[in-house]
Amino acid sequence: MSRRTPLGRALGLGSAKEGVQHWWSQRTSAVALIPLGLWFAVSLVLLATDGGLDHAAVTAWIASPVHAVLLLLLVATACHHSRLGVQVVVEDYVHLEWAKVASLLLSTFVHFLLAAAGLYAILRIAFAGAGA
């Protein structure tokens, strides 16, 4: 016989107050990163073998609408997935409460910074032809 309240059982959030949200978010981003990651790896190899990675070839490749959108998705999803993974590692190994909270804050800020910088770079290259 469970001693949990009916409300607690209905909400299903457990002692961590976030339920299975982290688990699902990690799996969803993992599934998305399979095609995105393979696409990016193949693209990098093709870029490196075709154009020798010169600036004009790479920016033209990024500026193509399909590539720009996929690259935005890749950077955003990779940063999200990375943040979720680093969070689990920190929670597993950092036991001092203040150090754990500080590590999680730092990881969150760095991941948002990387995402913002990466998305800005892609958008700037993508819009450079239209604006300036």
Partner: protein, 132 residues
């Protein structure tokens, strides 16, 4: 605080090393490598957005010996984490959970990660002769 007079579960170092535990910790380690690799990825995109000189500098760093070693490590980490991540998703679906399947899929992940890494670098160095 923990009461250290109680019996503790055996420490990691008294276990005989097994494939499953090596692959498990390698998944976490390669995940952290890929998290760290977000920094050079975003830096490379920012350099491309900045201009030809900055992009040439970024590519020169990546083409140096430490840069190439870093890229080799990141490429293996990417393929390992990708393949073993798929193995984890299959487990999440409830399949391949018997010990023989765990070992067969584990060795397959190791083989696939090595083969994909070698193929990638063979393609970049023009050893496959296909793209010309």
């Amino acid at each position: 605080m923990a009461n250290h007079t109680r019996p503790l579960s055996p420490h990691l170092q008294v276990y005989r090393w097994q494939l499953t535990m090596v692959l498990s910790i390698t998944h976490r380690a390669t995940g952290l490598v890929l998290s760290a690799a977000l920094v050079p990825l975003v830096g490379w995109l920012l350099a491309a957005a900045t201009g030809p000189e900055a992009f040439a500098t970024a590519n020169a760093i990546l083409a140096s010996v430490p840069g190439q070693l870093m890229l080799a490590a990141v490429s293996f980490a990417f393929y390992y984490h990708l393949c073993n991540g798929i193995r984890h998703l299959v487990w999440d679906a409830g399949w391949w959970l018997d010990i023989p399947e765990v070992y067969a899929s584990g060795w397959s992940v190791v083989a696939a990660a090595i083969v994909l890494t070698v193929l990638t670098w063979a393609a970049i160095w023009g050893l496959l002769g296909g793209a010309s």
